[in-house]
């Protein structure tokens, strides 16, 4: 009976199970690397590494919930990164106009993918495969297959800089107060409407956990120069994407389209438009990730983002997104990305051979989804 209760708790609060998995991975590496893993410096690096996969995962989780897939994003990241490098280094554009242009270009290319999928009715798997080749080809062509460097300093600062210590404390405080306010307001509304409430202790425990987590997170990263700017951007995107998925009409329509496209169409929803926007957002996320990639390395490499689509898709599935669409969460996908990044970082610290790194990541991906299927929370996958 007790075991069943625990299982139900995990099914309901899947995030708990995922966080426990992350904790286990961290402790394991910490022990194996003689206490070199859970250090401010290393974790700061880890989060920075995770930021790019995380941005892609934000877009990808919508694509998968809508019942589609996009394999072109690694190449699209490379292309958009290449464009930002060419604009700033070769063409002498200012950093901000170049970023603006690339964001728009990402949105348009994503929308183009979406157009081919929805209006021309080519399966998204094929569109992705085609885009994977074509976008990579374009970036090789426009860069002449060579790395473009050096990126201007203000662009590099976006990838390598930190949020000022004092500012991040303020942001953390504001987020916590907002979480408390949201919880209180939700409880009041639900009691007014006579709806089922989560037990009070669960809500309080949740808030305390969030508070401890935010404080610990900021404190730890402040011990190592502060929160990296890409991580801050990712957290902002997490907030925006979570808001869109849970609070907006468009978000609800994404879940509905993925859950049953025909029923959604017959309910008067323009399903093609929903999917088109989802693909456009995916393109926008590729632009974010491409820009940050260039900023981090200080150069535009024609091979940037290779394999990025697989990392993003793995992150979504580890984070509990359903293969068949219709269910999944943004924060789940980001924790999935954290799992992947932790494995990378830990195994590099342990000096594990690259071949073994790939084998282990592959096995963990399959294992994670298997556990999800076993827990019964993802019966449709």
């Amino acid at each position: 009976m007790q075991a069943q209760k625990v299982q139900q708790l995990f099914v309901r609060y899947k995030i708990l199970a995922l966080l426990i998995a992350v904790a286990i991975i961290w402790v394991f590496f910490h022990v194996k690397t003689d206490a070199a893993f859970i250090t401010p410096g290393n974790l700061s690096n880890l989060f920075r590494q995770m930021a790019i996969t995380g941005m892609l995962a934000c877009g990808m989780v919508f694509v998968i919930i809508a019942g589609e897939i996009d394999l072109s994003i690694g190449s699209l990241l490379g292309l958009l990164g290449g464009v930002v490098a060419i604009l700033t280094v070769n063409e002498g554009w200012g950093t901000w106009p170049a970023i603006g242009a690339v964001l728009v270009l990402g949105l348009l290319l994503g929308a183009f993918n979406g157009f081919v999928v929805t209006k021309m009715r080519v399966p998204s798997f094929i569109v992705g495969l085609g885009g994977m080749l074509a976008f990579r080809g374009i970036v090789l062509y426009i860069t002449g297959s060579s790395t473009i460097a050096p990126a201007p300093d203000d662009l590099v600062a976006l990838g390598q800089g930190f949020v000022p210590v004092e500012l991040s404390r303020w942001i953390g405080g504001i987020i916590f107060v907002a979480m408390v306010a949201i919880t209180v307001r939700r409880r009041m509304r639900r009691s007014k409407l006579g709806l089922q409430q989560a037990a009070l202790w669960i809500d309080i425990a949740r808030l305390v956990a969030i508070g401890v987590f935010i404080a610990g997170f900021i404190r730890m990263l402040n011990d190592a120069n502060g929160i990296p700017i890409p991580v801050m951007i990712l957290l902002g995107l997490l907030a925006v994407f979570t808001y869109v998925s849970t609070q907006t009409v468009f978000g609800r329509h994404i879940y509905a389209v993925g859950g049953n496209m025909e029923a959604t169409r017959l309910s008067g929803v323009n399903v093609a438009r929903v999917k088109l926007v989802v693909f456009a957002l995916m393109g926008l996320m590729c632009a974010f990730a491409g820009i940050i990639t260039v900023a981090r390395t200080g150069s535009g490499s024609p091979s940037a983002g290779t394999g990025g689509e697989l990392d993003a898709i793995s992150a979504c599935f580890i984070g509990g997104t359903s293969m068949r669409g219709g269910s999944g969460t943004v924060y789940g996908a980001l924790i999935g990305a954290l799992v992947m990044a932790s494995l990378d970082s830990g195994m590099q610290l342990m000096d594990v051979d690259n071949s073994w790194q790939m084998i282990i990541k592959g096995v963990i991906l399959v294992l994670a989804v298997w556990v999800d299927v076993l827990s019964g929370s993802n019966r449709n996958a």
Binding site: L195, T248, V249, F250, R252, Y255, G326, N380
Partner: protein, 515 residues
């Protein structure tokens, strides 16, 4: 008389503490057909899953006896070896494989080395189909070339190929025309004479009355009665199923019929696969305010295509001129249709009606979500208020509006889908088979709602294959046959025979009218 072929005794099955079956008995003699009746959610499917080995021995309590000896089936295969074969409501055929390949699927006749012995299978398939009096079937042709009626019989052939001694038929006539149902029932009668026993599960009590020797009624997982059919009437079965008397199946409320509110002219739909074939051929009709217009006809006559085209949802090429309150409207997508004031509750609830993983509430507001939103942000309070009101009004049985809709019974799902399409406040409500797979209690609620809506002035177009429903609910009945309008009758005094005659009258020139 107690020489039972199969006997289930005191079956108890629990799902995480909830008793789905609570001590059910069911017994079948050789050559006997037992009708198993109960509302949706009464436990019929669960019981049949116990009997057919879907729930392995040990996951339930009680015992199953085969010719007096206990059967311990750990898989479907085990119970099939004992002679129990279930034919599900949704046919389990692979459309692209041939008739013979389907009949022997999983049970193939092999030659040395695992090669398929096609000659033997074709010969045996033909013999089996001959036993079912099916002629003109090419057993080497893909199953998808044959209609629903044939496919149902292929399923039976498949069961016979496994030497079935007990056939379980779960709603076998739900997608059959009445002629096909007739054939099916007479085949079951033949099989009974050969000593094959049957369990017949159906909401259609006239079929149960015709083919069954014994009736077992269950309700809320409990055994209510088992009696010879000769002692029962359809009315007494309904009373036992519902646990209360439903005086009148159709709670007809007098409603005033006003002016013409909607008109469809020259609706023509072309077949998706065969662009030269017309599925609907130049049908025009009108509906008045507060009128319930029934559309009757055989399955495949083009009724669903007709209403899909009106709603802008037909997948193939189509033409239609629509007028709402005298002004032409342009409808090419469901989105435009809903905006114009039309709503459609589709035929196939699972495929077209519900979004299974979303909550009941989220499903209910899917068509009107923007009503509860400011600048794209959903006002949950407003949304939940509507949802709660509607759930109470239609008596949708759900523990919480946030529960995934897939967990509800068919009747409650249908009510939720109906609510969803009522929230846009349509002027014309189109219902395609509104009570298919719905239990008696929910049916009653749905009819009541239809009459209430009509009294408020909504024009209702109802496609239905259930003749008593068409006659009991409609004010006027259109009969469609082979894509053409074959009749337009006021329902007063109309008989099933008249409707059927119009539906199959090949010779009729132009629409018939009642005298």
């Amino acid at each position: 008389m107690s020489n039972y072929l199969f006997e289930m005794r005191r079956i108890v099955k629990e799902f995480s503490g909830v008793r789905a079956l609570d001590g059910i008995d069911l017994a079948v003699r050789p050559g006997e057909c037992v009708g198993l009746c109960g509302e949706n959610g009464a436990g019929k499917s669960t019981l049949m899953k116990v009997l057919s080995g879907v729930y392995p021995y040990g996951t339930w309590e009680g015992e199953i006896l085969v010719e007096g000896k206990p059967l311990k089936a750990y898989s479907v295969r085990d119970s099939e070896d004992a002679g129990v074969v279930i034919i599900h409501q949704e046919l389990m055929l692979v459309p692209q494989l041939s008739v013979a390949e389907n009949i022997f699927l999983g049970n193939e006749i092999r030659r040395f080395g695992g090669l398929m012995d096609y000659d033997a299978m074709y010969a045996k398939a033909e013999a089996l189909l001959a036993r079912l009096k099916l002629k003109d079937v090419n057993v080497a042709a893909p199953v998808m070339n044959y209609g629903g009626g044939y496919q149902q019989l292929f399923e039976i052939a498949k069961a016979l190929a496994k030497n079935a001694r007990l056939l379980i038929l779960d709603e076998p006539s739900s997608s059959l025309t009445s002629a096909e149902t007739d054939t099916l029932l007479s085949i079951i009668e033949d099989l009974k004479r050969e000593g094959v026993a049957c369990v017949y599960i159906s909401h259609k009590l006239d079929e149960v009355a015709r083919v069954c020797d014994t009736v077992t009624v269950i309700r809320d997982g409990r055994h209510i009665l088992t009696r010879p059919m000769s002692e029962m009437t359809t009315q007494s079965i309904i009373t036992a199923m519902v646990g209360r008397d439903i005086e009148n199946l159709f709670p007809k409320v007098e409603h005033e019929i006003g002016d013409v509110v909607f008109e469809a002219r020259h609706v023509t739909c072309w077949d998706l696969a065969n662009p030269n074939r017309k599925r609907v051929d130049d049908i025009s009709f009108q509906v008045r305010r507060g009128e319930i217009l029934g559309i009757a006809g055989l399955v495949g006559a083009g009724r669903t295509e007709l209403v899909s085209a009106i709603f802008g949802a037909y997948a193939g090429r189509y033409e239609a001129e629509l007028l709402l309150e005298g002004t032409p409207i342009k409808v090419r997508t469901p989105e435009q249709a809903i905006k114009a004031g039309l709503s459609l509750v589709p035929e196939d609830r699972k495929r077209q009606g519900i979004v299974p993983l979303l909550g009941v509430g989220d499903n209910i507001t899917l068509a009107t979500l923007s009503h509860y939103a400011h600048a794209g942000q959903i006002d949950r309070q407003a949304e939940l208020q509507t949802v709660e009101t509607e759930i109470r009004r239609l008596r949708v049985k759900t523990a919480s509006p946030e529960l995934a809709i897939v967990g509800l019974s068919g009747g409650n799902q249908q009510k939720a889908v109906l609510t969803k399409m009522l929230l846009p406040e349509p002027k014309v409500l189109i219902l395609d088979e509104p009570t298919r797979g719905v239990d008696v209690g929910s049916k009653y609620d749905i009819y009541k709602l239809m009459f209430e809506l009509a009294a408020k002035g909504v024009a209702i177009i109802m496609v239905s294959s259930e003749m008593p429903e068409v006659l009991g609910v409609s004010d006027r009945v259109l009969v469609v046959g082979e894509g053409r309008l074959r009749g337009d009758f006021p329902s007063l005094g109309l008989t099933q025979e008249q409707v059927l005659a119009a539906a199959i009258s090949h010779a009729a020139e132009g629409p018939a009218h009642a005298a």
